[in-house]
């Protein structure tokens, strides 16, 4: 019998990856890394790692005369699979390679995940990327939506249903209703599941929503160029994983703005208006009531997806 140290190390690493992914799911920390919609993918990765671990354990021990029976080692010179099978002697280069692979395991187990904060928002482009997107090509669509609205005006009963939709997947009609709700309600509730949709919809025609009341939650983000009494109430929108987080949020005006620390989460009520910042038209919220809250359990927003078929 021969003990293959490298094969044992590989088995260990495979299992550690499986356990790390499992642990992140189990503790719920996974939502701090990826959009919950894709949790299934990393769960299956965890299971796959476990299977690969089981397979790998069989390679740790070999009977001496059996050790070269691997199919592409049949003839010692006919090595045609161009990769390392972990049988070659151990050296510094390999040590580094294993250390690199182990590195995310160490940081993953030891360091707590951190919710992205204002410093990242700043790196991501701040207010410049936060202004109104693609306002033109949505105009027609909006006109169509308006027509629909006149056809069936009764929608408010559905309010509860819509906010409970799972996985953020909406059918086309549900989506239309969502937009109608936004257009008809006098107080806009920026709940987490509709935040990004409403946000986009409002940016298509800022004047339409002028004067409406709005309730929202967000963290404080500040940038040079904002007035003393202004700050940005921002959120991160995660499409897939936190690496692709985009920042969305509203410039807000309140007298105590300068005393509020960056990264403080607040819940606010205010009135929508518009303003000019660096030559671009922005919505602005004149805050009437606000309070400091703790960081929410789910700090990120996820875009809703509309079933096309």
């Amino acid at each position: 019998m021969r003990f293959h140290f490298q094969q044992a190390v590989r088995a260990f690493i495979l299992l550690a990856f499986s356990v790390m992914l499992f642990k992140l799911h189990f503790t719920g920390e996974m939502t701090k890394f990826i959009n919950p919609k894709y949790e299934g993918l990393s769960q299956s990765a965890s299971v796959l790692f476990l299977i690969l671990f089981i397979i790998q354990t069989t390679r740790i021990w070999t009977i001496k005369d059996n050790s070269h029976h691997h199919h592409c080692h049949q003839d010692a010179h006919d090595h045609n699979c161009s990769h390392d099978h972990g049988d070659s002697p151990f050296n510094t280069k390999k040590l580094i390679a294993y250390l690199v692979i182990v590195f995310p395991l160490i940081t993953g187990f030891l360091l707590p995940p951190k919710v992205l904060d204002a410093s990242i928002a700043d790196k991501k482009g701040g207010l410049a990327v936060l202004s109104n997107q693609k306002s033109e090509n949505k105009q027609e669509e909006k006109a169509a939506a308006n027509n629909n609205q006149q056809e069936d005006p009764v929608i408010n009963e559905e309010l509860v249903d819509l906010s409970r939709i799972e996985d953020n997947v909406y059918t086309n009609e549900e989506y239309e209703q969502l937009i109608q709700q936004l257009e008809q309600s006098s107080t806009i509730e920026m709940n987490d599941n509709v935040f990004s949709t409403y946000y986009e919809e409002m940016h298509m025609d800022l004047d339409k929503f002028k004067g409406r009341e709005i309730n929202l939650k967000g963290f404080v983000y500040k940038e040079d160029g904002l007035e003393q009494n202004q700050l940005v109430l921002a959120r991160f929108l995660i499409t897939h994983c936190v690496a692709d987080a985009g920042i969305i949020g509203f410039i807000s005006e309140l007298p105590e703005a300068s005393s509020l620390e960056v990264n403080t989460w607040i819940e606010a009520k205010g009135v929508l208006d518009t303003t000019n910042y660096n030559g671009t038209k922005f919505p602005i919220i004149k805050i009437t009531k606000w309070k400091v809250i703790g960081e929410p359990k789910e700090p990120y927003l996820y875009p809703i997806s509309v079933k096309v078929l």
Binding site: R10, L116, Q133, A243, D244
Partner: protein
């Protein structure tokens, strides 16, 4: 007798490893060092791990497919399937890539295995470039990110396909041989594996996948770390202020696409968020370049191909995308 010893010892070692991992797990939960670490490092770590967690399922799928190719596809198959004519081979590979729903993290091991099996390098590159760029999920997410407008999605696919064709064509003219780092002795090796039973072949497919994972893993980790580092410490804001003209804005967006190393399924939303500061042409550069080549991908390719080849292909992709977009920008 040997068999019994062997079976038990495998189980014993397996259990030992499980115990070791669980021990470390319990240690790690009771021992959190968070207070003395600067928040920017924690940000870096979170972004790094999230890129990795996002990529791992796709890499695993990639190495499994690579394992399947290694064991079940023979050189003779490849020779029969791929047209002798270079142009035909390139067109075919680009179309197969477009039909094949791959992600850029998973495609490198597949391409490596294909080249190892004798697929000509130009066909492999065509496949590698269209695979992550053109697939249903990417089309759908681009369509949605740009306000349910098909124009950007269509341009992304169309121009992307054209660029992939051109790059593959130039590669076929400039580069010969398989360009692999470790030369492969092409000898028909699987005359012997045909004698083996299906279960043995399946088993060796899985062990091949494990080895492939460890080959790719270190480059994936380094790439993810670099991309996370750039995101945490390099202000995109400074870049944004630099780009105002058509040429500079296109360069800025392509640079961003390269260093951010986003998954092709998610980058449309990021691209869309820039659409008010940059012209459509620059956004298209971002959307087309990102899936074809990025920081993470380059490192993975360096593990497979010669350095000169990787740099050559990268330069080709950049220049062809640049020229194409500059040419069509007046029409969009």
């Amino acid at each position: 007798m040997y068999r019994i010893v062997r079976n038990n010892i495998i189980e014993f070692t397996g259990i030992m490893i499980i115990v070791l991992v669980l021990l470390l797990l319990s240690l790690s939960t009771s021992f959190k060092i968070s207070y003395d670490i600067p928040p920017s490092l924690l940000n870096l770590n979170t972004i790094f791990l999230s890129i990795l967690i996002e990529a791992l399922p796709f890499v695993l799928i990639g190495v499994l497919i690579a394992g399947v190719i290694q064991i079940f596809v023979t050189e003779e198959h490849i020779q029969r399937w791929i047209p002798k004519n270079k142009v035909l081979a390139i067109i075919m590979s680009c179309i197969i890539g477009a039909l094949f729903p791959a992600c850029e993290c998973g495609i490198v091991p597949i391409v490596r295995r294909l080249v190892g099996k004798g697929v000509p390098i130009h066909a492999a590159i065509g496949f590698m470039l269209t695979g992550p760029l053109i697939n249903p999920i990417v089309i759908a997410s681009t369509y949605m990110a740009f306000g349910n407008d098909f124009k950007i999605a269509g341009l992304r696919m169309g121009l992307g396909f054209f660029v992939a064709l051109m790059v593959a064509l130039v590669v076929s003219i400039i580069f010969r041989g398989n360009q692999l780092k470790t030369p492969i002795h092409t000898r028909s090796s699987h005359t012997l594996s045909k004698k083996e039973s299906l279960s043995t072949r399946f088993w060796s497919m899985l062990t091949h996948s494990i080895d492939e994972f460890f080959d790719m893993g270190k480059y994936l980790v380094m790439g993810a770390f670099l991309a996370a580092f750039v995101q945490t410490y390099l202000p995109a804001k400074a870049l944004l202020e630099a780009g105002s003209g058509t040429v500079s804005s296109l360069s800025v967006m392509m640079g961003l696409a390269y260093v951010l190393s986003l998954c092709s399924e998610a980058d449309a939303f990021i691209g869309a968020s820039f659409s008010n500061i940059f012209p459509t042409s620059a956004i298209l550069g971002f959307l087309i370049f990102g899936p074809m080549m990025d920081l993470k991908n380059t490192l993975m390719m360096l593990s497979v191909f010669r350095v000169k080849f990787v740099i050559g292909v990268l330069a080709l992709i950049i220049s062809i995308i640049f020229i194409t977009i500059m040419l069509v920008q007046s029409f969009i």
